[in-house]
């Protein structure tokens, strides 16, 4: 006898997704919300996550809940994070708030790998970061870091 209970997840922009309870419980945040009850515990709001990201997060949870021991799980994960840095950051944020450790570790490691071995300019370019230091502040920081060969 399998439980076919479903949960509806609602994103910040009002998109709704119906998922099996087992898949939804992969998020410890949702698990906690369900366990602590509430009048309407079959629809759960996830205001920190947009519809596009939530859809991807659900895809991740489905794969990991329904086929946790499959041989292609590693390659699924590798392909899953072959996305641009903006999507990656959205996934990291979503997995942080929804408390999905596997996805948080995966997206964190991918972002960390994108930082490694890059110069400051390359980091700013990859992540569209604005340099908000004054020239004096920047000079001071560079002096402190002169041991770091390719600052």
């Amino acid at each position: 006898m399998t439980s076919s209970k479903t949960i509806v997840l609602r994103s910040s922009d009002g998109a709704t997704f119906e998922v099996d309870e087992a898949v939804a419980l992969h998020s410890l945040m949702i698990k906690h919300r369900i366990e602590t009850g509430g009048a309407d515990s079959t629809t759960i709001d996830v205001p920190e996550v947009t519809g596009n990201t939530l859809s991807k997060v659900i895809e991740y949870c489905k794969k990991h809940v329904e086929a946790p021991n499959s041989d292609d799980l590693k390659s699924f994960d590798t392909d899953f994070v072959k996305v641009d840095q903006a999507v990656l950051c959205h996934l990291a944020k979503a997995s942080y708030y929804m408390n999905i450790k596997g996805l948080l570790d995966l997206s964190s490691k991918t972002i960390a790998d994108m930082f490694k071995g890059k110069t400051v300019e390359q980091i700013r370019e990859t992540f569209h970061i604005k340099n908000d230091f004054t020239p004096e502040e920047e000079e001071e920081l560079r002096k402190e870091n002169s041991w770091n060969l390719f600052v």
């Binding site: 840095q85 903006a86 990656l88 950051c89 959205h90 990291a92 944020k93 942080y96 964190s108 490691k109 972002i111 960390a112 930082f115 490694k116 071995g117 890059k118 110069t119 400051v120 980091i123 700013r124 992540f127 569209h128 970061i129 604005k130 340099n131 908000d132 230091f133 920047e138 920081l141 560079r142 402190e144 870091n145 041991w147 770091n148 060969l149 600052v151």
Partner: protein
Amino acid sequence: MATRSLNMLPEDCISAIVSLTSPPDTCRLMLASSSLRSAAESDLVWSRFLPSDLPQLLSRAHTQLGFRSKKELFFQLCDSILIDGGVSCFTLNKVSGKKSFLLSARALSISLSNEPNHWTWTTHSTSRFSEVIELKTISNLEIKGRIGTQDLSPNTTYGAYLIIKVSDHAFGLDSIPSETSISKDECAVTNTTYLCPMDEQKQQLGSLFFMNRRQMMEKRVVEGDGRRPSKRGDGWLEVELGEFFVGGKGEMVKMNLMEVKGHQLKGGLIIEGIEVRPKC
């Protein structure tokens, strides 16, 4: 329009990501923007780069360390600290975060080191330590050091180096090569070394007049490379004793330099200690 996507992440989330990189990468991230700087300077990040046995290490420090952040502590440790009552020195590598130790002459076991006829305890202006030991005259040279692998960084190959100077009035140090050995788990790896740097002129003269004698002496010791000391950046010389790998479990590693087969008097060797540091 470019979105500042990293900034949507909570700061402790960014710190957790940065902690997966390395100290140099983290310092570069600090230059990217003020919000990245704040995340990268967090104790959350620098705790990951500090050794896992930090409390034990700090309890061995010779003087109490003052630090306002884990980052500050990291760089203080990179600058070397004296430990174990000042007889050893600990350093963290800035780039890799791996540990190195320098055991002073006092931390080693040197045969007859307390006999003033043979050895003199003295000071040297360029030594890290308050004392170095100088050889007056001895027939048998036995220098032994030990270190537990639990004190070192795991999954790393370490080299052990005897740090020396050769005084102007040195004699007999290279009449026969010295034997070096590294042993772990009852398994020893041996080699041979000379204590004086290579001197071209002397080498040629030596070959001319003493070739037979040299060959005879070399036969007395174990097979080896007959290494020579190399110059260090701090003005001292170093003689490699060997290398070993630090795996999972804690083991005692013995690092020795012995010359007991020549029965020739020697003197003028100054020892600072044995350095144990990761090989690249």
